[in-house]
């Protein structure tokens, strides 16, 4: 039995980690290592060392769509179930998933906006001169940029007025016979807001149920001309991000 030969075992572990051990032999190694601590130690030896070669590779930022699809896969749950946790036997509510997405999107926004003055919370410490504070009519702004293109929108929305204005800039040559649709990511999932202009300015009416609770996350998807036929995003999500309170 060749797996009893120490030198061969070492070599198999090394080739497993390097990747030249393929096919049935690879699966066989995994089964054996699972039950054999010494073989596993040999595998870990190589993982800890050869793995450092990966640090030489230039990082490439994945499109925001990848993160959104990942969340959908977690949320779908049936094909890849969420881990059952003793403290929390039920699947995690979708709201929390979207909140997590908002957190990641917020990080992007911080980087993109590059100024902290308009972050939520900070405006409260800014002295307000004569005008009485009107917390009932806040304005939210978002900058939505499509990666790998110059296309971007600046949106400004007032929930009290139920209105949103949008200014488009740049270009999205791949658009073809498609439309770009804006969505509000509600705790229950995406809610259509409307089709985004490719150039110039426009205004849209906001969905009545739209709330700012827990932050506002917007997303843009590529849809058939005229918008999604189903009322839910059907095409790839081009970009997403939070709308932050600006006034």
């Amino acid at each position: 039995m060749k797996y009893q030969d120490a030198r061969l075992r070492r070599m198999l572990a090394a080739e497993y980690v390097l990747g030249t051990l393929r096919g049935p032999a690879r699966r066989r190694f995994e089964r054996l290592a699972h039950a054999d601590a010494a073989l596993r130690a040999e595998q870990y030896f190589w993982e800890a060392r050869l793995g450092r070669l990966s640090l030489a590779i230039k990082p490439v930022t994945p499109a925001p769509t990848v993160w959104l699809s990942l969340l959908r896969r977690i949320e779908a749950g049936n094909t890849v179930p969420l881990r059952v946790r003793p403290a929390e036997p039920k699947p995690v509510p979708m709201r929390r998933i979207w909140a997590g997405m908002a957190a990641a999107a917020a990080v992007v926004a911080v980087v993109m906006l590059g100024q902290r003055g308009i972050l939520p919370g900070t405006h409260e410490t800014t002295p307000v001169a004569q005008t009485p504070v009107t917390p009932a009519a806040p304005v939210y702004v978002a900058l939505l940029k499509v990666p790998d293109s110059t296309m971007q929108w600046t949106v400004s929305l007032s929930l009290v007025k139920g209105q949103m204005t949008v200014a488009a800039a740049g270009d999205y040559p791949q658009l073809g016979q498609h439309s770009m649709e804006l969505w509000w990511i509600s705790p229950q999932g995406p809610v259509a807001i409307g089709l985004l202009p490719v150039q110039g300015n426009g205004s849209m009416t906001l969905p009545k149920e739209m709330l700012a609770q827990g932050g506002i996350t917007l997303a843009v998807s590529l849809e058939p001309q005229g918008g999604s036929p189903t009322g839910k995003p059907t095409g790839p999500v081009l970009t997403s991000g939070p709308a932050v309170q600006a006034a």
């Binding site: 390097l18 030249t20 450092r52 909140a99």
Partner: protein, 211 residues
């Protein structure tokens, strides 16, 4: 809003140097994820996804496959982050290992569709700069002197076959083709290379350096 109550500056800093993400912080995030913390999951993605995506693109050569593999990889992290052990390397090293294994499995399923480079055509050997040894690119500020030194102790063919297998995900057959050498010869380059590398790495100390 969630995600903005901790210092944005740290996010910015981390964003600019994701490859050197603080191992202690990543270890904490992994621990939090194993407890079901979605916010930690989002932060780990933010910190590591570009590094892993670069690695996956490198091996898979196709954006759609790399995106699929990246998702698979993070799904696995979400479900099994508690399987992380420091013995498997620093957190980012371990995440790279997971990503690479996933890429190798995908290649096995999908590579038949990919045409191999024609005979006489040089395979993509290096990183940003063609003609440069990938290991040289790895040394800058990354503290992998031991690995580099040991790599340089190998014969050229041994080193080249090990690096091609690592960075391109080549099988023995693909290595033979890329290096224009008989299969048996290539197998022995890989094995002798690894064997020598192991002796060298052990000789210079069994403790893994901190990233």
């Amino acid at each position: 809003m969630i995600g903005l109550d901790s210092e944005p500056k740290r996010y910015l800093k981390r964003d600019m140097s994701s490859a050197t993400a603080d191992p202690e912080r990543l270890t904490q995030l992994l621990a939090a994820i194993s407890g079901g913390d979605q916010r930690a999951f989002a932060q780990l993605y933010e910190s590591c996804s570009s590094h892993l995506f670069g690695l996956l693109l490198r091996i898979l050569q196709r954006r759609d496959w790399a995106e699929e593999a990246l998702q698979d990889c993070f799904l696995k992290i979400w479900q099994k982050s508690e399987t992380y052990e420091p013995a498997r390397g620093a957190p980012l090293t371990w995440l790279s290992t997971i990503a690479r294994y996933r890429a190798l499995d995908l290649l096995r399923m999908k590579r038949p569709e990919v045409e191999m480079p024609e005979e006489g055509e040089e395979p993509p050997m290096t990183l940003a700069d063609p003609g440069q040894d990938p290991v040289d690119g790895a040394i800058e500020g990354e503290g992998i002197d031991k690995l580099r030194d040991c790599m340089h102790g190998l014969q050229d063919e041994q080193r080249r076959s090990v690096l091609l297998a690592y960075y391109e995900g080549y099988t023995h057959q693909e290595l033979a083709r890329a290096m224009k050498a008989p299969l048996g010869t290539v197998k022995s380059w890989v094995r002798r290379g690894l064997s020598r590398l192991r002796d060298c790495l052990e000789a210079v100390g069994g403790v893994v350096e901190q990233e």
